[in-house]
């Protein structure tokens, strides 16, 4: 099915798609990908065929989200009640750098993606929500488009977020910030795509998801599925780092379904050595720990499901075999407790309590049945709160207790299996 005029350039070959252009400017963008022709609402079907899942963490299919925002027959296109598309570049996940890299190197793909999503939903307004630091890349790209008259009938605004804490990128928080609100997670009885702030159907989509949509709009679903795996067609961006050093990270574009070990090797990080890897925290800090046996698993839903994990936001935070895993888990739990927006009782009380109990376990101090206490507090935070932040912490800690069972046992007996580990 052709939904747009065929592109005048050859589609990218191999795994360099999002990062295929030589530079971030409009010239490089159009030379590499060709111009974007105005797309039709049928693009949603093409996006569904291409199998684009959300890259912000939840993996929700983009086509489904766009369809949900378009259901109404009356098409209001501007002002109150008109749909709004929001590109999420908050990247509050501490171990993720991919959205920053994407905005820096391919801002025009992101902007094209907003145009595609707007065309699909009948919106004429879109917003990129991001940090102060990254806003500059977007503004520069918008200026280039203004000079060349490339607005495609969509007005794109930039919203600098009031804060870029971990939860700032949560969908309801982001929608609230864009509408001039506090930018903290909100209670949601009705989906954003049905009714968001100001009564508008609101599509919040990660910027990488939108960039992928921009490629599908040009080159089609068949091309998109030409590489990657069944449950991860096309390419995706991955951030690899040592879990104790998220500041030193490498972002890779890979075909979907690549083996975790291969991605670690491809990162060429001096701090990451597959031979000395004990475990990987997959998806994000609120993701799932997998043991070194999982290095053969593929980074897609099918490959990670047996390990209780999912690709999430494409984060691979690597734990080496010299570092005490309980200590690392305790520090991450503490950081995630700090990141709570502080709105909901179980989260604001439970996360610090959980971090405290895991911290005591990490210290090796005798304090009763700590493993049972951890399980108990995990059950208190999981699924209780307006957003899914506490659920992520619960998931991360539960997986740690499972994957690091030997270390947990040792710590319960007052020992640590690692030199220089907790005491």
């Amino acid at each position: 099915m052709t939904v747009a005029a065929p592109s005048t350039v050859q589609p990218p070959i191999g795994t360099r798609r999002l990062l295929a252009a030589a530079g971030p400017g409009l010239d490089d963008h159009e030379r590499t990908f060709g111009p974007l022709s105005v797309t039709a609402p049928a693009i949603v079907d093409e996006l569904a065929l291409a199998g684009i899942d959300g890259r912000g963490g939840a993996g929700f299919p983009l086509a489904q989200k766009l369809a949900a925002a378009t259901r109404r027959s009356r098409r209001v296109t501007t002002g109150r009640g008109a749909p709004l598309v929001v590109g999420n570049a908050a990247e509050g996940e501490p171990a993720s750098r991919k959205d920053a890299v994407l905005l820096e190197r391919a801002p025009h793909l992101v902007l094209d993606g907003l145009v595609v999503a707007a065309a699909a939903t009948g919106a004429t307004e879109a917003v990129v929500a991001t940090s102060d630091r990254l806003a500059g890349y977007v503004l520069r790209a918008l200026d280039e488009r203004a000079v060349r008259g490339r607005d495609h009938g969509v007005v794109i605004d930039v919203r600098v977020l009031p804060h870029t804490s971990f939860v700032a990128g949560e969908a309801s928080a982001l929608a609230s910030a864009v509408a001039g609100g506090r930018g903290v997670p909100e209670d949601r009885v009705v989906r954003l795509t049905e009714r968001g702030p100001g009564g508008r159907r609101t599509v919040v989509s990660n910027v990488e998801t939108l960039a992928q949509a921009a490629l599908v709009a040009r080159f089609g679903a068949v091309w998109a599925r030409g590489i990657g795996s069944a449950s991860a067609p096309g390419t995706r961006l991955v951030t690899v780092s040592d879990v104790t050093d998220p500041g030193r990270a490498v972002v890779l574009e890979t075909a979907g379904g690549a083996a975790l070990g291969g991605l670690l090797r491809a990162s060429r990080l001096s701090t990451v050595d597959p031979a000395r890897t004990r475990a990987v925290l997959v998806g994000g800090w609120g993701g799932t720990w997998v043991p070194r046996d999982a290095l053969d698993a593929t980074l897609d839903v099918d490959g990670l499901a047996p390990w209780g994990a999912a690709p999430g936001a494409g984060v691979l935070a690597v734990l080496d075999d010299r570092t005490c895993p309980i200590g690392v888990t305790a520090r991450i739990a503490a950081a995630l407790a700090e990141a709570s927006a502080g709105r909901c009782g179980p989260c604001v009380n439970g996360l610090p309590r959980l971090a405290e109990v895991v911290g005591v376990l990490a210290s090796g101090r005798p304090a009763g049945d700590l493993a049972a206490q951890v399980r108990r507090v995990v059950a208190l935070v999981d699924g209780r709160g307006a957003c899914h932040h506490p659920d992520g912490v619960a998931r991360m800690v539960r997986s740690a207790m499972r994957v690091f069972r030997d270390d947990v046992q040792a710590h319960l007996g007052g020992r640590c299996l690692h030199a220089g580990g907790a005491r």
Binding site: P185, V189, C344, G345, C347, N349, L380, D382, G383, R384
Partner: protein, 71 residues
């Protein structure tokens, strides 16, 4: 299927719902409602015989943190 939706941004753990729906909800150590069956406490399923009590809980919550939603 009806469910009791908790607006966690409003709940202050006053506990009336845990008294009106004692079979469904108990209080955690900070006073906040938690589903007895171990399920997530965002949308707690409500059986037909509990509907009256659930409506009372919705009406009487001091901070209006509850509502009934259809599933």
């Amino acid at each position: 299927m009806t469910a009791l939706h908790v607006d966690w941004t409003r709940c202050r753990g006053r506990g009336l719902c845990t008294e009106l729906l004692a079979g469904r909800l108990e209080r955690d150590e900070w006073g906040f409602p938690i589903a007895r069956d171990g399920g997530r406490t965002r949308d707690v399923p409500v059986r037909a015989e509990e509907l009256d009590a659930a409506r009372d809980a919705v009406a009487m919550c001091p901070v209006q943190a509850l509502r009934l939603v259809g599933r």
